[in-house]
């Protein structure tokens, strides 16, 4: 930010609003940007802070002093703990499957021209664009019609379903600058298709695959709408919290969400660093 104010106008990229009178406008927009950022993180700050609140009674509404009690009693609510474990394992499993299937689709779309390609793109577009509530409801109508009992497995199926397209799109985007001559070189040197994939293609697309996997994991652990239709009596973390809203959310939820938040931010930063290093 400091480099902005001191940069000589000639060297700075041309920007509308540069020059006379633009200064004030720019300052105002800068302040505005921070105001919006504050608005965006406000509920997160409140969530984190009230995980340390020494609350009295059932309501967690007012600040009563600092305590680490809820961090110590993190797993004191068995149902909540089960829900969290469900969320984590479903996120891991669905990420693994969706990343595999999505990467293959992304490879096909990013590297090959084939008949029916437009149809596949349309399918993915519809899948991403369709309202979640409809995705959840229609999947439920399939399970009801087929007599499939709802539970852990149906949640897993649903999560894989909505993650595949996102992974495919991310992987395809990463393939944009892919130089396929390195694969041809590997093949000319006698590598079979699988060796070529393992030693040449995969390392090259790995950052994209990793980004796709992170996105899939984040979406799965966060997902409420589609899950609620296909969960039966099995609960995930967001489902448990939703159920608790009318009676009051216990501080353990704040603590768990804080941990997920911090781990997620660290993972994303790590991935960003990895990508940056690869680009140099």
């Amino acid at each position: 930010m400091t480099s902005l104010d001191s940069a000589p106008p000639r060297l700075a990229p041309a920007r509308p609003g540069g020059g006379r009178g633009g200064r004030l406008g720019e300052r105002l927009l800068h302040a505005y940007t921070w105001l919006i950022l504050l608005w965006l993180v406000l509920p997160i700050i409140v969530m984190i802070v009230f995980g340390f609140n020494d609350r009295v009674g059932k309501r967690n509404n007012t600040w009563n002093g600092f305590t680490l009690r809820w961090w110590g009693e993190l797993f004191a609510i068995p149902d909540l703990t089960t829900a969290l474990v469900n969320s984590l394992t479903i996120a891991l499993l669905s990420t693994a499957v969706a990343t595999t299937l999505g990467t293959l689709m992304g490879l096909a779309l990013g590297r090959h021209t084939f008949r029916g390609r437009g149809g596949v793109e349309l399918l993915m577009f519809a899948n991403i664009a369709a309202p979640e509530v409809v995705l959840g409801a229609s999947l439920l109508s399939l399970f009801i019609t087929m007599g499939v009992p709802r539970g852990y497995l149906t949640i897993l199926i649903a999560h894989i379903m909505f993650n595949i397209s996102y992974v495919a799109v991310v992987v395809r985007a990463r393939l944009a600058g892919f130089d396929s001559s390195v694969e041809e070189a590997a093949r000319d040197l006698g590598a079979g298709p699988f060796t070529t994939f393992r030693l040449v293609t995969l390392p090259l697309i790995l950052p994209g695959v990793l980004s796709g996997a992170l996105l899939a994991f984040a979406m799965s652990i966060d997902e409420y709408v589609i899950t609620t239709f296909n969960a039966g009596s099995t609960l995930t973390f967001p489902l448990w919290v939703f159920g608790a809203t009318r009676v009051g959310v216990p501080p353990q939820v704040n603590v768990m969400a804080t941990i997920i938040f911090v781990v997620g931010v660290l993972l994303a930063l790590g991935n960003a660093l990895l990508l940056r290093r690869r680009q140099i």
């Binding site: 020059g19 720019e26 505005y32 967001p238 939703f242 959310v249 938040f261």
Partner: protein
Amino acid sequence: MRRRRAGALAPYFLVLPGGLWLAIFFVVPTAVMLSVSLQTGNVVDGFTQTFDFGVYADAITTYETQFIRSLIFGLIATVTTILLAYPMAYWIAFHAGRNKSNYLFGVLLPFFVSFVIRTVSWKFLLADDGILLGNLKDAGLLPADFHVLATSFAVVAGLTYNFFPFMLLPIYVALERIDPRLLEAADDLYANRRGVLTRVVLPLSMPGVFAGFLLTFVPATSDFVNAYVLGGTNTTMIGNIIQTTYLTNADYPLASAVSFILMAVLLIGIFVYARLLGTRDVLEMSTR
């Protein structure tokens, strides 16, 4: 020869597993939902296929209010996000310099907290006796019976908050793509600042606004978490109807009909929209 053939089949092998998964758990269910909507019966006695299209008329007349309310809430929230996001995206794209990605990361921070928890956190912030309103009331700045929760304002504000990043990111991408030389050219041709903005920047960023509109309007219109957590009995949206009709009332035909109408309205809208603007562009902008 053999190798060429295998090469020609390769993309199909790559697409097959994921494509099948989507076909079985996304395309087929949509068809099944259509068929369920045309059944008659109840959970106890079972359902039979009767092709009774009357359920669609029922769905529309019964839930007309919620359909219209959802569209209006979705539209207000979407337009609000455009107005809020554009200036910020503009500043990040043209003035944030090397800190661009840091600001964008800030915009993405809410995504590291579950959607439900973010909304619950707002409920907590806006509670009648909570840390915001409670203190203002104690200070005598607000009347004691003032409330935000259970109003349309709270629901629309929640929708605006939750979908804001979906609007900012595509607008930012579109602005970021603008070739700086175009702005220089406009400057050289004696365009004033207003002219550069309205005749160069704004038109060139429209694809981003269109993509953002799609990404925000569809989930905002069909959302039911905000209406449930922040709203009251007068703010019920169509998503809430679908949820309760399916899961609480177990009236599957009616629930399916309502979902199908919602999907048809939104998907037809989306495809007309994407056709007008180019499918690929919207898809690419939407998923960047």
